[in-house]
Amino acid sequence: MTYITAFVSGLLFGLGLLISGMNDPAKVRAFLDIFGVWRPELIAVMAAAVVTFFVAFQFSKRRVKPLFASAFHMPSLSVVDMRLLSGAVMFGVGWGLVGLCPGPALVDVLSGNESVLLFVGALVAGNRLAHVLIGPVKTSN
């Protein structure tokens, strides 16, 4: 059931990204272009998603464990440090350059668009490079 649940979740996530237009780099860059021809619609995607997950998360507090697993894997980090901030800045700059963040980039892979494939190749390389050079945050999770 773990794998079926994860598959369904991934599919719903991908459909949501495609229906909302988050997968379109031009639309994302127009959303970030607040000093230009700003297209603010994508804020509705974030708002609707955050509110929905907020409700689910509140509900989960009354449960000891998830339906098909032994425990909720709650993120253990809460500090705001230079690692978090520098990572977020690098991500934001890359996001603004092309208009793709990881989820939409992966959703667009099977379109076969060559620009998307080149971006995803570099995305994976960047992820592995950071893994080798910096490594994961030490946590008990």
Binding site: G14, A26, V98, G99
Partner: protein, 136 residues
């Protein structure tokens, strides 16, 4: 506007399904890192998630839903951006999904700071590119 709201609801529902079903945060950065942890059975769910995620594209093609992809064709921009996003999200432990949707939905201060930071960086980057008249 309704497409955005409906899409956002689906994304939130997807995150709810993964959290309530198997107790995992649906963050793409985490998924991306997890698929490489072949020998860790605790991370194998990420392969199923990724398969579902990637099959969304062929599925919307079946029903002829318009899902345009307008993207630069400049290799330098694409490689630089991909490396920055891949490296930055690993270092910052999350992206628009993990920090933006799930983190903010959990009311995590750390995730809210991350989200505001990468959004500001994105806004500034687009503004600077416009000012410098960078052709994309």
């Amino acid at each position: 506007m309704w497409d955005e709201i409906f899409g956002g609801l689906l994304i939130g529902l997807a995150a709810a399904v993964l959290w309530l079903g198997v107790g995992r945060i649906s963050g793409m950065t985490g998924v991306l890192s997890s698929v490489f942890q072949f020998r860790n059975p605790d991370r194998h769910w990420s392969w199923a998630f990724l398969a579902g995620l990637m099959l969304a594209w062929p599925m919307v093609q079946l029903v002829d839903y318009p899902a345009p992809i307008s993207i630069t064709d400049k290799p330098f921009l694409l490689i630089a951006a991909g490396l920055l996003v891949g490296f930055g999200t690993y270092v910052g432990n999350g992206c628009t999904s993990g920090h933006g949707v799930c983190g903010m939905g959990r009311l995590s201060f750390r995730s809210a700071v991350a989200t505001v930071t990468f959004m500001l960086a994105g806004v500034i980057t687009v503004a600077v590119m416009t000012a410098l008249e960078v052709q994309i």
